[in-house]
Amino acid sequence: MSVAQIEMVELDAAPSGGLWSEAWRRLRRNPGAIVGFSFVAVFVFVGIFAPLVAPYSALDQHLELIAKGCCPGPSAHHLFGVDDLGRDEFSRVLYGARSSLIIGVVAVSVALTAGLVVGGTAGYLGGIVDSVLMRAMDVMLAIPGLLFAIGIVAMLGPSLLHIMIAIGVTNIPIFARLLRGSILAQRENDFVLAARAVGVPRRSILASHILPNAISPVIVQGTLALATAIIDVAGLSFLGLGDPNPARPEWGQMLTNSNNYLQNAPFLAIIPGLAIVVSALGFNLIGDALREALDPKLRGRE
C-alpha cells in the first residue's frame, strides 16, 4: 500500500454541490497552498522550458572534466558541479523536471482512468459486478505496492512507459475504491433520486449527476498520487528498474547512480534528492490544501 492509499482513508465523503467557489476562496487564503502552487509552478515551468533555462545541454559529455577523478564540485561554470560523465549537473536537474512531470502525469492518468472505469462500474451497477470488481481490487491491494510495481516492470521489461504503467496500475485500487464509495454516497442523494423519478436514463444520470459530484475527492487524491508517483519511480530506479536510457536526465536515476560516488561527490546525490523532495512536497501541499478546502466538515471553522 502506498502513502496515497493511506491518505485516502483520511478523505471524507464527497462534498455537496456549490462548493467549488468557496473552496477556491479558501485555497487562496491558505499559505501552504500558495507555497505548494509556487513549487509546482516552478517545477512545471522548468519542465516545459528546460531547453531555454538550462545553461548547457543535459547530454554533452566532457570526460576531460573528470580526468582527475569523479567529480568536481560546484564552480562558477557549473553551478552544481558535473556528474560522472562530465555533464553539467544543474542542466540535468532542470531537464529532470521534465521526465518527472511526464512520469507523474502519465502514471496518475493511467491509475485515474482505469480506477474511474472500475470504480464507476462497480458503484453504479452494484450487485455481483460490484462484488467481483471490489474483490479484485482487494487482491491488488494485498500485494505490497513496490513489489507489485517491480513485478510488472520485470514482466514487461524496463522502459519509461512500462514504469509509468506499473506505478499507475498499483494505484488503480485507490481510485476505484474512492470513486465507488463516493458514488454509493451520491446515489442515495435527493437530486439523483429525483432525476431517476422523472425517468432520466441511468447512463446520463451517472454522467451528468453522480460523477461530477463524486469527483472532488478524486482530484485531491490525484494530486497526492502525483507526489507518490515521483517517489515510487525513484525507488524503482534505486532497485535497478529505471529508465533504460541512462543518459536521459531523471532524478531517481541520477540519485541512484550517485550512490556510487557518495563519498567523493555527495552533492550529486543531495541535489536530485532535494529536487524530488521539493516537487513531491509541492504536490502534497496542494493536495492537502485542496482537501481542507473541499472538506465540508471543516467549513465554518473560520
Partner: protein, 553 residues
C-alpha cells in the same frame, strides 16, 4: 495538555538522546585473532562440486584442497594433496603420488581410496545433480555421467573413465581421450577432495525429488558438515547473517595464522566500503574503481590488486543485419572510443584491450593484431562503403544492477560508448535489463544486436577464453565461421606447448580480423583491507587463502 501526551513526548525525546549518547560511547573493535570479510552474498552451498559462484568458492577454498593447486598469486600449477604426478605416454592415464600423513577434519585419513571415492561421487551424481546449473564444472571439464538422466550426457561423452587406488598413497585416473587442460582444471576449487566418511554420514547427495521433479537436499554435508583437509573448518553458518570458519588444529601444512574468519554477506558495493570504513569488516572484494582513491587517502585502509585476467567487450550479434557485414563491424570498432572509457572510468586499473586474451594468458599475440583506434571519420567512411547512409540505427544493450570486474559501472561505459558512436555515424537505441536473468537471457538468446559483456577466466588456459566464446556457432554471436571453429579445435587438442601457443596466437589475431566482438578492457580488480591486515595474496583466478593472513601490531 494531557499528561500522557507530555510524558510520552518527553520519553521519546529522552530515548533518542540516550541512544545517541550510548552508542557514541561503544564502538566495537575486531578481536585480534578474528577477521571479518565482507562478501557480496552467502555461499550457495559449501560443496565445491555443486557450485560455480565466487562467493561459494571463496569459502570452499579455505576448507577443501585439491590434488593440485596454484602457486599463490599466479596460475602456475603446483602440487597440493598430490606431491607429484605424471601422465602415461598416450596421455590417458595420470598417476598421482599422494601426500602422506594428511587427515581430514573429521580425523579420517586421506588416501588413494578417498581420492577415487570423490571422483566416483562426481561421476555417479544422480539425475537432478547432473544439471548444468548445479554441476557446471564437472559438466564443462569432464562432460558426462555414469548414469545419465534422460537428455544428459553419458559415459560416451565423459573425459573421465575411472580411478584406481594403487596402494595407500597412489591414485591413477584414467581418461577417455588426450586433454591439454585436465591438470589445470584439477586446480579448480570445485574438485577439492572431501572426506568420504563425511560425504556418506552427512548424505551429501541425498535428497528427495518431489512431484515437480525438484531436488530437495536432505543431507547436511554442504550446509553444516563440510569436511575437507584445508587449513580452516566450518564453525557455523547462518544464512543472511554470517558464516564462521575456525583454524584447523590438525592441518598438515603451516597452520592458519588467524583463529577465525567470519564472512558477512553485504550485497551493496557502497555499503561494503562504508562497513570497512566503520570497522565493521576488515576486508572486501571487488572494490569499485572510484572508491580506490577514497581507500588510499583514508590512512586506515589499503587496496590490493588482482592481476588482469578478464576481458570486457562490446558483443555483436551477426544474425541481426547489418552486423553480418564486416565493414559495419569495423566501423563499430573504429567508432568506439575505447581509450577514453578505459582511461576515465577504470581509475588507472584498466588497460585498453587490443585482443580477447588478457596478456597473462598463453596465446596472447604480441604482434600482428589489427588496431582499431578511435576514428569517427573512418567509421563513417566504412559505413558508406558498406552501402549504408549514416546515421545507421543500432540497438545497444547494457545491464543494470550489476558490477563486474571488467565493467564496474556498465551504464557509464554504455553512455560514453553511445556518445562516441553517435559521432561516428551510428544512431544508438538504448536497451537495458537487470543483469540476471533478463539481460543474460536477452544476449544469449540472440535478442541483443550490440551489447556490453565480458568474461573472467576460470583457469589459466586460452581455451577457457577463446573456445568458450568462438569455438562453435551460438545464438549470442550469430555467426558461422568454420575456419575459425576448426582453428580453435585444433589449438585445444594440441598438447605440444609451443605449437599450441602459436595456434592460439593465430586464433587471437583471426578473432580481431573477424570482429565477432570488440574487446576494450583488461582490468585489474581490487580488494580492500584495513591497513593492518597482512599476508593476503590476490590471485588472477581469485583462489585466495586466508591461512596466511594476519594482523600487524
Amino acid at each position: 495538555m494531557s499528561k500522557f501526551v507530555k510524558v510520552s513526548l518527553v520519553l521519546a525525546i529522552a530515548a533518542l538522546v540516550t541512544v545517541a549518547a550510548g552508542v557514541a560511547a561503544i564502538r566495537s573493535t575486531a578481536a585480534s585473532d578474528t577477521l571479518v570479510f565482507g562478501a557480496a552474498a552467502d555461499p550457495v552451498i559449501i560443496d565445491g562440486a555443486l557450485v560455480s559462484d565466487g562467493e561459494s568458492l571463496r569459502v570452499i577454498d579455505q576448507i577443501f584442497e585439491g590434488l593440485v593447486g596454484l602457486k599463490p598469486g599466479t596460475t602456475v600449477i603446483v602440487p597440493k594433496l598430490a606431491t607429484s604426478y605424471a601422465a602415461s605416454k598416450n596421455g590417458l592415464a595420470w598417476t598421482f603420488k599422494l601426500r602422506k600423513g594428511v587427515k581430514f577434519q573429521d580425523g579420517t585419513p586421506f588416501n588413494g581410496q578417498a581420492v577415487c571415492a570423490n571422483f566416483d561421487r562426481w561421476y555417479s551424481f544422480p539425475g537432478p545433480l547432473q544439471d548444468q546449473a548445479v554441476t557446471y564444472y564437472w559438466n564443462t571439464v569432464f562432460g558426462g555421467f555414469k548414469h545419465p538422466a534422460t537428455g544428459n550426457p553419458g559415459p560416451d561423452k565423459s573425459l573421465y573413465k575411472g580411478c584406481k587406488a594403487l596402494g595407500q598413497y597412489t591414485a591413477r585416473i584414467i581418461l577417455s581421450r588426450r586433454s591439454s587442460s585436465f591438470l589445470g582444471a584439477l586446480a579448480l576449487t570445485n574438485f577439492g577432495i572431501a572426506s568420504p566418511t563425511a560425504l556418506k554420514k552427512y548424505q551429501a547427495d541425498a535428497g528427495t525429488v518431489d512431484s515437480d521433479g525438484v531436488f530437495h537436499p536432505t543431507g547436511t554435508f554442504g550446509t553444516q558438515n563440510p569436511i575437507g583437509t584445508g587449513p580452516y573448518k566450518l564453525k557455523s553458518w547462518k544464512v543472511g547473517d554470517k558464516l564462521e570458519i575456525d583454524a584447523n588444529p590438525t592441518y598438515w601444512g603451516a597452520k592458519a595464522k588467524l583463529k577465525r574468519i567470519i564472512f558477512r554477506p553485504i550485497a551493496d558495493n557502497a555499503a561494503r566500503l562504508q562497513a570497512l570504513q566503520t570497522g565493521e569488516i576488515q576486508g572486501y572484494d571487488l572494490v569499485a574503481p572510484q572508491d580506490i582513491a577514497t581507500i588510499k587517502n583514508s590512512g586506515k585502509l589499503k587496496a590490493l590488486d588482482r592481476p588482469a585476467f578478464n576481458v570486457g567487450y562490446v558483443g555483436i550479434n551477426q544474425a541481426i543485419p547489418p552486423m553480418n557485414n564486416l565493414l559495419v563491424r569495423q566501423a563499430l570498432a573504429y567508432g568506439l572510443d575505447r581509450k577514453s572509457v578505459v582511461d576515465s572510468f577504470y581509475a588507472g586499473r584498466g588497460q585498453v584491450a587490443d585482443q580477447f586474451l588478457p596478456p597473462l594468458v598463453v596465446g596472447f599475440a604480441k604482434k600482428g593484431v589489427p588496431q582499431y583506434t578511435f576514428n569517427p571519420e573512418k567509421s563513417i567512411a566504412l559505413l558508406k562503403q558498406a552501402g549504408l547512409t549514416p546515421p545507421v540505427k543500432i540497438e545497444f544493450w547494457y545491464p543494470t544492477s550489476v558490477s563486474r570486474p571488467y565493467m564496474p559501472d556498465p551504464s557509464r561505459n554504455f553512455q560514453a560508448f553511445s556518445a562516441s558512436l553517435s559521432k561516428a555515424g551510428f544512431q544508438v537505441v538504448p536497451r537495458s535489463a537487470p543483469w540476471r536473468p533478463d539481460y543474460l537471457g536477452a544476449t544469449q538468446s540472440g535478442k541483443a544486436q550490440v551489447f556490453l559483456l565480458g568474461w573472467t577466466g576460470d583457469f589459466g588456459d586460452p581455451a577457457n577464453f577463446l573456445n568458450v566464446h568462438f569455438g562453435s556457432k551460438t545464438d549470442q554471436f550469430g555467426f558461422d565461421n568454420p575456419k575459425l571453429f576448426d582453428l580453435l579445435t585444433r589449438a585445444d587438442s594440441e598438447t605440444n606447448i609451443a605449437k599450441r601457443t602459436a595456434l592460439y596466437q593465430q586464433a587471437s589475431i583471426q578473432v580481431m580480423k573477424f570482429l565477432p566482438v570488440v574487446p576494450y578492457v583488461h582490468s585489474k580488480p581490487a580488494l580492500a583491507f584495513q591497513k593492518n591486515v597482512q599476508g593476503y595474496a590476490p590471485s588472477p583466478v581469485s583462489l585466495e587463502s586466508f591461512a596466511t593472513v594476519s594482523y600487524s601490531s
